[in-house]
Symmetry: none
Subunit: 249 residues, 2 copies
Amino acid sequence: MLKRERQAFILHRLNLHNKVLSVDLCKEIGVSEDTIRRDLQELSDAGRLIKVHGGALSMAFSEVKFAPLNVYSRAHKAIIAKKALRLIEDGMFVLTSGGTTILELVRNLPMNLRATIMTGSVPVINACIAYPKIDVVVVGDKLSKDSKLTVGVDAVEQISRVNAGLCFLGTNALDMEHGLTDNDREVVQVKKAMVNASAKVVCMTIAEKLQTYQPMQVCGLKKINYLVTELDPNDRILRPFIDAGITVI
Amino acid sequence: MLKRERQAFILHRLNLHNKVLSVDLCKEIGVSEDTIRRDLQELSDAGRLIKVHGGALSMAFSEVKFAPLNVYSRAHKAIIAKKALRLIEDGMFVLTSGGTTILELVRNLPMNLRATIMTGSVPVINACIAYPKIDVVVVGDKLSKDSKLTVGVDAVEQISRVNAGLCFLGTNALDMEHGLTDNDREVVQVKKAMVNASAKVVCMTIAEKLQTYQPMQVCGLKKINYLVTELDPNDRILRPFIDAGITVI
DNA sequence: CAGGTTCTTGCGTTTTTTTGCGGGAATTAT
DNA sequence: ATAATTCCCGCAAAAAAACGCAAGAACCTG
């Protein structure tokens, strides 16, 4: 096998699997590891792949998985935010949890919107301060450093005293069997209270989190009124949720 | 699984759920905890996540945007903050109001200090999040856009339920005749509640605000235990306060 | 075609990377 | 306070990479 052939083979393999191991390659092609290593080095120098200890990764892999974190799924979340905005009417009383999706929603609020937002999420509070016509009601109690959200019995109690028109929930995991689930006990308590205190519940999530689940349940699917994802509402992935009676946007 | 793959997996997981536990990761991936820990360390060094005891947190919404640094008399306020720090003991429960002087105090807290800080000031909450060993208790209620402080009967009620060891008050005006005074009705209510809920009250202020007064009284001089200014405690301006029984630092 | 040059490849050795493990320190939970 | 985790450090083994070298193939050139 010629050098060129070999390198083409490697690239082809890389497009299929996004990764190759030097060990596998040298067995399959029947050359020494040094040769493979030199091939990988050359291809790496030419910018066709990313050499790592033990083999190589495709450029696609690195772009997708190692994209700058602060823009991870940001575009998706902006789409979700814009769609969810339609649900907010002037003068509404809105409850929100935390999370980057919710934060994106708040950052996309129209400047002239008049509403009351009740939340225990510190980033959301920070974002809300910028809006002159929005009344912010802070949920007080112990601040969870992980989620940057106030949690605890006091928080639950304060939430249970209100009657919100709408509740936006950042979603950690959502599937048909377990409903809306999360991994932090205290956060689950707060979210539960929010669901019970609201006329309508809106779940906002990137599609990637659909059909996954976490250890603790916030609520069953029946309590969820709207599901907002970045996908087209007709996407087949969303079909089961529509069938379950959820309005998918 | 290659090292890079593993790290990509961790980052991906982190972006989905905002938090990962080393224990979970090493089970799922099938490597030792040390390996996971080293991965987390490397990713942390690269600034791609925040390592914490037991796992890691997503970088997504820990964008620490520092409030304006061009605060009036910042140097003076830093001196005041350093002096006031001496009053805080390990394990204390501390109440604080808002204001740039208080904020300066929080920013000068020692990293290893263990304490509980209860406050309704959004900037103070933001600053406190950075300290891993500080428990933050948020006072909830309506957020006043002017003072970035929660105010209202609920806030007052929550404050009145605690017994704090120390209360730091940002000071708007202080004089012999009217005591501690302020100009915002709702803020005054909150501050009153804080004074009543604390064993010791600390007023922090630049000397410029001494011997001035505002329309509404928070409390009389008798309730104030400590006065912290940028001046030397022996300064003659501070004499009357010492004579009134206040410990001047 | 002879002779020299360049390229490619494999081998042995050295160096680096990665990983797991044990024990003690530190931190957290009970 | 005490117990249980988790973390940190150094070590050692295994795997992989880098390096120099030399044999052979391919390629040019006169």
